[in-house]
Amino acid sequence: MLGLDKRDTKFLWIVIFLTLATPVLLQPFPEGSALAQFNAGYPDLMQRFAIFGIFAIGFNILFGLTGYLSFGHAAFLGIGSYSVVWMYKLLDYNVIWGLPLAVIMSGIFALGIGYISLRRSGIYFSILTLAFAQMSFALAYSVLTPLTNGETGLQVYTSDKQILMGATEPNSPHFFGIVMRDNFWQPNIGGWQFTFNNGYYFCAIIAIIAFYISMRIFRSPFGMMLRAVKSNQQRMSYTGLSPRPYTLAAFVISGMYAGLAGGLLASMDPLAGAERMQWTASGEVVLMTILGGAGTLLGPVLGAGFIKYFENIFSKINDNVLHGWFSFLPDGLEDFVVAVIHPFVGKGWHLTLGLLFMAVVIFLPGGLVELGQRIGRLFSRKAAEDETTADVKPAE
């Protein structure tokens, strides 16, 4: 189906199912139970899963396939957001104007930045991209204030023209009248509260398309050439292939994915700030890709989900919650246990994430996907037998 072989088609269907069922799957605990705070099925977080999933899928086309590690992809995220908010200000709140512009603008910037940065490889390439991203950040933060509204961030004011704005049009981002922040269904089934949000499904459908495109690229001759770039550039040029245009194409494609993700961020929440372009945001997508499994199809999405989950759920566990959990222990012991766990949760969630990241890099160089494969092998003898002859296509 759709130019994919049987195995990939099945895989795509599983991804589509999981994506569409996310509002249910991420809500495993009933409302009001002690574990309810581990539920992640609320719109704001699910939108982030989908959006950062797209960001990481695109980043993986560059880093996973060609091995070029960019430390400046957040610049394209910011460019995408600014494009969308500008379309709100000039035209109206329909995201149909802004999103294509976000992709085009980030593509143009990626072409320029990539053309210069790809003159070098390895650490020098990374530093060049980092320099470009920090320059973009500085421009957005101060120099280009008329365009970006500086540190306040770009937003829509009542004085803005919005020339296409109809009288009955919703006053927040929408897609032909489907308002992003609205929920179309909020069933309460036996204590479980599910939220089906317009914005999430909008992002989810785009994420599925983005995933499908990346799958096609992975399986195409072009994808094979990108892996050849990573493997041996010397052999590549002596085989009659020019590595540079291939790498530049991968850079532009991944920049466009980042622009799309940035555009979607502004589609969910009509704001664009310079902090979105900062180097920490560029570093985050590197972490997501490596944590999930660079060069695999699903890995970056898993990594993105994992990090966003930690950022939003672990960071909410404070001392009160901990005392609630360990109240069954004797007083002195309870305080001790809480004191031990305290640095790893709440504001210390970065610490836990850092430890997990180290564990993954040391014990699972293939990321969370490798963990999945190892577990899969434990349950299936056949897989273990195939191991020696396993084909070397990047695993899912």
Partner: protein
């Protein structure tokens, strides 16, 4: 007029004259060996031929066109393939993919954005690559991770990658360097088979005299950056100048 004409090539690295007035003519469909002691300029000459080094003076013409100033991938597209001293293959890819990539390069040129085509749909190229793997007796290893193979197999694979492009000139840089005797003999047999099957011109740079005398039809002896003599293998064997270059000047 040979397929490859090197005329008056000089190359200097600082104070070292690496190549001094090299003239060389390689005839079509011959196996031409370039031999010489260490530091004779064999590798420098090869790097000039593939566009990696630009000579200070002189010309290098392949089939009537100059190769000077062209990039390695452009020279390959003209029909020159190269086998390296240590096999250069795509280690992260499997054997089949390693052979498919040169097929794509031959058909589509140095860059093509085929992002929405599917590799399994390229039936013609896959068939061609499979035939090549059968020819070099590697078809049973088609799914193997290329980096995990033995050195002899890597060499075999690299030759398959070059040959599948049907180059008009194949340059081999010490193809048996560091190989065990058995592997060396296998490589000689492989090259002989290839030569018997198709029209191909080969230029071999080699240390191992056993390899040279098993394969070469013409031999050029290089010493201190200058060709000493060019002749048939029989005449080279007993040539006093060659013995002098290899064994040193006799005293007294």
């Amino acid at each position: 007029m040979g397929i490859l004409e090197v005329k008056g090539v000089n190359k200097r690295f600082g104070g070292l004259q690496a190549l001094g007035n090299v003239n060389l003519s390689i005839q079509e469909n011959t196996v031409h060996a370039i031999i010489g002691p260490n530091g004779a300029g064999k590798s420098t000459l090869l790097n000039v031929l593939v566009g990696k080094l630009i000579p200070d003076t002189g010309s290098v013409m392949f089939d009537g066109q100059s190769v000077l100033g062209r990039k390695p991938h452009e020279i390959n597209q003209m029909g020159i393939s190269r086998v390296f001293q240590t096999p250069e293959i795509f280690g992260d890819l499997n054997v089949m993919e390693n052979v498919l990539i040169p097929c794509f390069a031959k058909r589509d040129g140095s860059f093509r954005m085929h992002a929405f085509e599917s590799v399994p749909n390229e039936k013609d190229l896959i068939e061609k690559a499979e035939q090549m793997l059968i020819d070099v007796k590697m078809i049973d290893k088609r799914k193997m991770h290329a980096a995990s193979m033995s050195r002899g197999d890597k060499r075999r694979l690299e030759m398959a990658m070059c040959l599948v492009q049907e180059p008009r000139l194949l340059l081999l840089d010490e193809p048996t360097a560091g190989m065990a005797r058995a592997d060396t003999n296998n490589t000689i047999d492989l090259l002989k088979e290839i030569k018997a099957k198709r029209d191909i011109t080969m230029a071999i740079i080699e240390h191992d005299m056993h390899v040279v005398f098993s394969l070469a039809e013409r031999i050029t002896v290089l010493a201190q950056g200058t060709p000493l003599v060019e002749d048939s293998p029989e005449n080279i064997k007993g040539h006093p100048k060659v013995q002098e270059a290899y064994l040193g000047q006799a005293h007294g």
